[in-house]
Amino acid sequence: MKAVYFAWVRERIGKTGEEISPPDNVKTVGELIGWLSAKGEEYAYAFEKPDVIRAALDRTHVKHDVAIAGAREVAFFPPMTGG
């Protein structure tokens, strides 16, 4: 699946997005955050406070307990500050 990052999540990870292949035991958005955090210190830094991280699956807001199965694009970003 494709992962995309925005705002300070993007800055900390150092890229706008990438292809990821989480193992089968990573079932939810929250578990995906945990798995990404272990990929390196830039990821650990980006996701150091998982509670503040917002996520979207295929461009729809989701909570961390939602299953990622079937999603083509997952996005991670801080709380929004538009408007």
Binding site: R59, T81, G82, G83
Partner: protein, 150 residues
């Protein structure tokens, strides 16, 4: 059907209102909300708005559809800019048209509350001393403003 646009260039509120009301005699109330970039007491050189290009338009369309379901509206416009904006420049425009003023006001407030907390945009400050400032932090106040809509 709501008019939704995500764009780098500025918008023209008067032109949007004119397009919404042209030739109609059933609209009694038009509310516009324009959000502008503030200088924050001279500290700010610019705001840079990052957005999730794929999602921004879809999410705002969902919010506009929700407003149209809740209130009897004859027109809705929501335009959100991205990129770098100097103090005094426009950032966001919402226009609502209805037969009655209360519906127009409430729908415009609802749209702004939801845009603030659900539209995938992020503001980064650029300071007048040339340094890159912080990412603007989301306000609890904005979350609470959204919660009033149930």
């Amino acid at each position: 059907m709501a008019v939704i646009r995500i764009q780098r260039e500025d918008f023209n509120a008067a032109a949007e209102v004119a397009a919404l009301t042209a030739g109609r005699t059933d609209i009694g109330a038009v509310v516009t909300f324009t959000g502008l970039c503030r200088a924050e007491s001279g500290k700010l050189a610019a705001l840079e708005l990052e957005h999730y290009a794929g999602m921004a338009e879809e999410e705002i369309a969902r919010v506009a559809a929700e407003a149209e379901a809740r209130w009897p509206l004859q027109g809705v416009v929501a335009i959100h800019r991205y990129g770098k904006m100097a103090p005094g420049e426009n950032i966001v425009l919402v226009v609502t048209a209805s037969s009655h003023r209360v519906a127009a006001f409430e729908a415009a407030e609802f749209l702004m509350d939801y845009l603030k907390t659900r539209a995938p945009f992020w503001k980064k400050e650029h300071l007048v001393d040339g340094s890159s400032g912080d990412w603007v932090e989301a306000k609890d106040m904005d979350d609470r403003a959204m919660e009033r809509w149930g």
